[in-house]
């Protein structure tokens, strides 16, 4: 039963190329260029899918990408693809296609039982039924089984979807008559134009809304040809603009990928979605939008009906009736909801009467009745004027609805356009548009073909002129419609319901009324409670009617309610298009491969990776770390500290600048010496710390902590600007690698590779020197972070591995041990040295961490100083204390009953602080730690700490440092 017509001018199918495919187990044929829907309808199918909730049979509705009841599971060579939109996706050879969301196939879907259960599934059913804790899991299991659309094929091959970028002067969205006219006008003035259309070909309604004639199609074809011949216009078809972002940044979705366009002006010519009438049985297969029938006729040469009634209230409906006659479809009647034809419909009405078509006026559709196949078989209606006023029943196999349009204005909303409701067209139109945004054609409330061309030309000329192409043109007001294209209330409730407002979610008129009754009577609440407009078509065919019903219930004009927001993306986008490659850049130090070769176990540090420790076969993590600690204390160790921030400051104001930044004093710092400084914020909270070395009178080199280096360097630049201190700031973090050679034997190891005098008098503790080490120009600082004689050697990145290896080689006689971050943490904990960010938090001020020596309150100014003066007058909120656990031979027992970082310190059941650092010290053979606690408990002998599983233990308060309190070892070192 082929419904294919002989050749139709403008058809998009290739009759020389047959495509065979399977649908629901049946082998069928179409042509190349057919969509799944057009091929199915051509072979006589009317039922294309089942509805989401009641599993009612559904057919063609829009044929424009919004037929969400005709979603298909397509099995093809490269895997099974869910939720393929049958109405727009072109069918290909050997596809195995099945309707989604059925049990036992489309024809005998067992879940159709829900159609009869409908009275027990009122609006808000979910919210009312599923709140019981006991029953919820059962309900959830059941509904997860019942609902859902297509099935994701987890074995589908990976497909990468790189993003593309485009730039243009004017972006025109929609290549219908107004969009084509706009693109041409803008290009004529010299602008480069990107013209996009969601359909597989340009032309829009210009090619299918023909009214049985050829002139509009011919004019549109001519426009397309001119646009294609214009070198300034690029046309992208099968591509839709999904969202608008600030400054004319638009995301285009093409079949292959996401395209991000930056335009200088945007013209929205997206047209309007034709809207269904709401009456009983309006969802039956065969009842469709007139534009869907016209698209089938002219794009695919498919006739959707043998005998049809056109339900209309505009001139577009009369045009569709003429299209039906032109292709041999029997026209049962034209049913006009209005009392008479409008000015633009009169000529067509006379033509129809002349050709013997009965026209009824004042029509009220009562119900569409289904036949044996589930599709429409007759239509019952009443009329008050026209050929025969009264109640009638028409036998037919299709109803074409042409009762109005909703503007496709989602992008305009996203661009922050103000909308107003226009009575002459019964639609929202843009009232004020942001600069550089234009709307033309149906979305602007302009409907007749000639008017749309005019509107488009003006918009295109304005958009080009506004950005300096050609002469500036004034944007004219939208041309007023002579006949209203949209019925103000095409809603006809039936006592037995089944008048569908939302085909995605199976919502009927009573559902919306009940939702209003329950108090959800604003557009946003109605949407959320009833789910209207929340299905895959995002309300393109339901929001306006729902809004009209809401206005009707509230007895208010529609403009008082306002539409719901259409957020990006306004049309579904395949997740693959949005997915990007994981891109988390990781920085690696100059010595990364050396660490790797040595068995480093990695840990993240800021955006670097650092060795946590070096694994040794047969030793546990704890044992390996303890060995590293012991090596530094007894012999010599070496750690890669290349991740530290490294900054140079130059200029006559450099010392003054640093004095304002850090708590320490630098004006009197001698060249060749370093000093430790704290960096605070304006509230006196500790933000960072570092060692600042003076290389010359006007040159300083200093370090920041790993994680803060980039943001601090940036902030230093801002502060220098705002303080009017012209200093040169250089970020050398990546330029220099750094390693810390520490331990009693470190001097002996270093001596082999440098001519620098390392004697204590020549290069004292806290000194900084520039010298060659293993042939590389280095900066060496004598630091004491780990509490032993130590040299922090900063070496240009490219020489780092040489220096590292040379020191390892000569250190072998002392059994030099590379050590990781964990060992360093323990070494500094034994010394009671604070790690900013671990032993401090976002509110720990500088007075609370026991470093009065580092804070020079008598300086003229440093960041946070004034706040510290306030804080100094107040009682301390917390203070940093050291603690220890009794020594124990049974390390294993201790490990289990040891506090961890962030365990709470208690005082009479109340929180009195927390543990900030803790660990087992191999040097002291006991567990030691630091805690931030209230001053009251800090004075006690013991702290009560709640450890894992709620157990409470006492730890002994001791004065830090735990090891070498006088600091002898780092100052002088062993005379090795």
């Amino acid at each position: 039963m082929s419904r294919r017509l002989p050749h139709v001018q403008g058809e998009r199918i290739d009759r020389g190329n047959t495509v065979e495919f399977t649908f629901e187990g049946r082998r069928l044929q179409g042509y190349r260029g057919d969509t799944i829907s057009s091929a199915l309808v051509a072979s006589g199918a009317r039922v294309l899918g089942r509805s989401f909730k009641y599993h009612r049979p559904r057919g063609l509705l829009s044929a424009a990408g919004h037929d969400v009841n005709a979603l298909m599971q397509v099995r093809r060579e490269d895997g099974s693809v869910p939720n393929v939109r049958a109405d727009v996706v072109q069918v290909a050879a050997d596809w195995d296609i099945n309707a989604v969301n059925t049990r036992g196939g489309l024809a005998r879907d067992r879940l159709a039982i829900f159609n009869r259960l409908a009275p027990f599934l009122p609006v808000g059913f979910y919210y009312k039924a599923f709140h019981s804790k006991r029953w919820f899991p059962r309900w959830e299991r059941m509904f997860r089984n019942l609902t859902g659309l297509g099935e994701v094929d987890l074995r589908a091959p990976h497909r990468s979807t790189p993003k593309r970028y485009e730039f243009c002067d004017v972006l025109v969205i929609g290549a219908g008559p107004s969009g084509l006219a706009a693109a041409l006008a803008a290009a004529e003035q010299g602008a480069s134009v990107l013209l996009v259309d969601e359909n597989s070909s340009a032309g829009g309604s210009g090619l299918y809304a023909r009214g049985g004639a050829t002139q509009f199609a011919q004019q549109t074809e001519a426009l397309i040809a001119t646009a294609q011949g214009n070198p300034r216009i690029r046309l992208l078809t099968s591509t839709y603009a999904a969202c608008y972002y600030a400054d004319h940044w638009v995301a285009l979705v093409s079949p292959e990928c996401l395209v991000k366009v930056r335009a200088r002006g945007v013209i929205v010519a997206q047209g309007a979605y034709e809207q269904p009438a709401v009456f009983r049985g309006n969802d039956l297969p065969g009842v469709m939008l007139a534009s869907a029938a016209q698209r089938m006729l002219y794009h695919y040469a498919v006739v959707t009906a043998r005998r049809v009634a056109v339900l209309t209230s505009n001139s577009e409906g009369y045009a569709a009736a003429l299209d039906a006659l032109a292709h041999g479809v029997e026209l049962a009647a034209v049913l006009d909801l209005r009392l008479e034809a409008g000015v633009d419909s009169t000529a067509a009405a006379q033509e129809l009467v002349r050709r013997g078509v009965p026209i009824h006026y004042g029509v009220k559709p009562i119900e569409a009745v289904a036949g044996a196949d589930g599709g429409v078989a007759s239509l019952v209606f009443e009329s008050t004027a026209g050929v025969a006023p009264g109640k009638h029943t028409l036998d037919l196999d299709s109803v074409w609805m042409s009762v109005g349009f909703a503007p496709a204005n989602a992008l305009l909303h996203q661009a922050d356009a103000r909308m107003s409701y226009e009575r002459s067209t019964e639609q929202f139109v843009p009232q004020t548009l942001p600069p550089g945004i234009y709307a033309c054609g149906k979305v602007n409330g302009v409907y007749s073909f000639a008017d749309r061309l005019e509107d488009g030309r003006n918009a295109g000329a304005c958009a080009a002129g506004q950005i300096g192409f050609g002469i500036a043109v004034e944007r004219r007001a939208a041309i007023a419609a002579r006949e209203c294209p949209t019925h103000p209330y095409p809603v006809f409730p039936h006592p037995r319901g089944k008048e569908f407002v939302d085909f995605d979610e199976d919502l009927q008129v009573k559902d919306l009324r009940n939702a209003c009754q329950e108090g959800f009577d604003s557009s946003e609440l109605l949407k959320r409670f009833s789910t209207v407009g929340m299905g895959p078509s995002q309300g393109k065919h339901s929001n306006m009617n729902a809004l009209r019903i809401l206005a009707n219930v509230r007895g208010e004009p529609i403009e008082r309610l306002g539409p719901t927001t259409a957020r990006p993306m306004f049309h579904p986008v395949p997740l693959a298009h949005l997915a990007g490659r994981g891109f988390t850049p990781e920085r690696r130090t100059a010595l990364d491969s050396d660490h790797e070769a040595r068995g480093a176990v990695w840990m993240p540090a800021g955006n670097w990776r650092r060795p946590e420790y070096y694994a040794i076969a047969g030793k546990s993590r704890e044992q390996a770390i303890a060995d590293e600690v012991r090596a530094v204390r007894a012999r010599v160790g070496m750690i890669d500290v290349g991740t530290l921030g490294k900054i140079e400051v130059h200029g006559p104001h450099a010392a003054q600048f640093l004095e304002r930044l850090y708590t320490a004093r630098f004006a009197n710092l001698k060249v060749g010496m370093t000093r430790y400084g704290l960096l605070l914020d304006e509230a006196g909270v500790v933000v960072d710390d570092g060692v600042i070395g003076r290389l010359g009178e006007q040159a300083f080199y200093f370090t920041t902590t790993t994680g803060n280096s980039a943001t601090l360097f940036r902030e230093f630049g801002r502060l220098a600007t705002s303080w009017d201190l012209p200093v040169g700031l250089v970020n050398l973090t990546g330029h220099y690698a750094a390693l810390n050679l520490a331990g009693p034997a470190s001097r002996a190891v270093l001596r082999e590779h440098t001519e620098l005098d390392l004697a204590d008098v020549a290069f004292p503790y806290l000194g900084v020197r520039e010298a060659q080490v293993a042939g590389a120009p280095c900066r060496i600082m004598r630091v004491g972070f780990v509490g032993e004689l130590g040299y922090e050697i900063h070496v240009p990145f490219q020489h780092a591995a040489d220096v590292w290896r040379a020191l390892l080689a000569s250190g072998s006689r002392f059994q030099i041990q590379p050590f990781g971050v964990e060992a360093q943490r323990m070494l500094r904990l034994e010394k009671g040295h604070v790690i900013v960010g671990q032993d401090t938090d976002g509110i720990t001020n500088a007075l609370e961490i026991g470093m009065p020596w580092a804070i020079k309150m008598d300086k003229p100014f440093f960041i946070g100083q004034r706040s510290l003066r306030v804080l100094a007058k107040q009682p301390r909120r917390q203070t940093l204390v050291g603690f220890t656990l009794p020594s124990s031979d049974e390390a294993s027992v201790q490990a289990r009953r040891r506090p961890k970082e962030c365990h709470l310190v208690l005082d009479g059941g109340q929180i009195a602080g927390r543990v900030t650092s803790v660990g087992w010290s191999p040097t002291l053979a006991r567990c030691i730690g630091l805690g931030l606690v209230t001053p009251q408990v800090a004075l006690r002998k013991h702290l009560r700490v709640r450890i894992d599983r709620g157990e409470e233990i006492d730890v002994e308060v001791v004065q830090a440092p735990f090891y070498d309190p006088s600091g002898e070892r780092q100052r002088v070192g062993d005379p090795l």
């Binding site: 972002y245 600030a246 400054d247 940044w249 991000k260 304006e682 509230a683 940036r714 902030e715 630049g717 801002r718 600007t721 705002s722 100014f861 100083q865 004034r866 706040s867 306030v870 007058k873």
Partner: protein, 92 residues
């Protein structure tokens, strides 16, 4: 994506910029009493208005002042600090 015009590098996408806070004048730490100082440190004005803000073009490290209407997120003007201040702009 939003565009911002760096006074040195011209219009660039907003992801290249970092926000540095509203331009606020610090009271003289020697003269301000504790209450006035605490007010400066802790009470920031978040009311929407045209504000002068610090912004940094991160790849080049250029700090500058953007005058921005925070109610509409409209960037009205960007200029280097010295030029902006030379024009006698009041700081809130």
């Amino acid at each position: 994506m939003k565009l911002m015009t760096c006074p040195i590098n011209g219009p660039r996408v907003i992801s290249e910029f970092a926000y540095g806070g509203e331009v606020r004048s610090m009271p003289d730490p020697e003269k301000a009493d504790d209450a006035a100082w605490a007010d400066y440190v802790f009470n920031h004005n978040s009311l929407p208005a045209v504000k002068a803000e610090w912004w940094c073009h991160t790849p080049s490290g250029v700090w500058f002042i953007a005058e921005r209407d925070t109610a509409t997120d409209t960037i009205l003007r960007t200029s280097l600090y010295a030029i902006w201040r030379g024009q006698g702009q009041a700081v809130s």
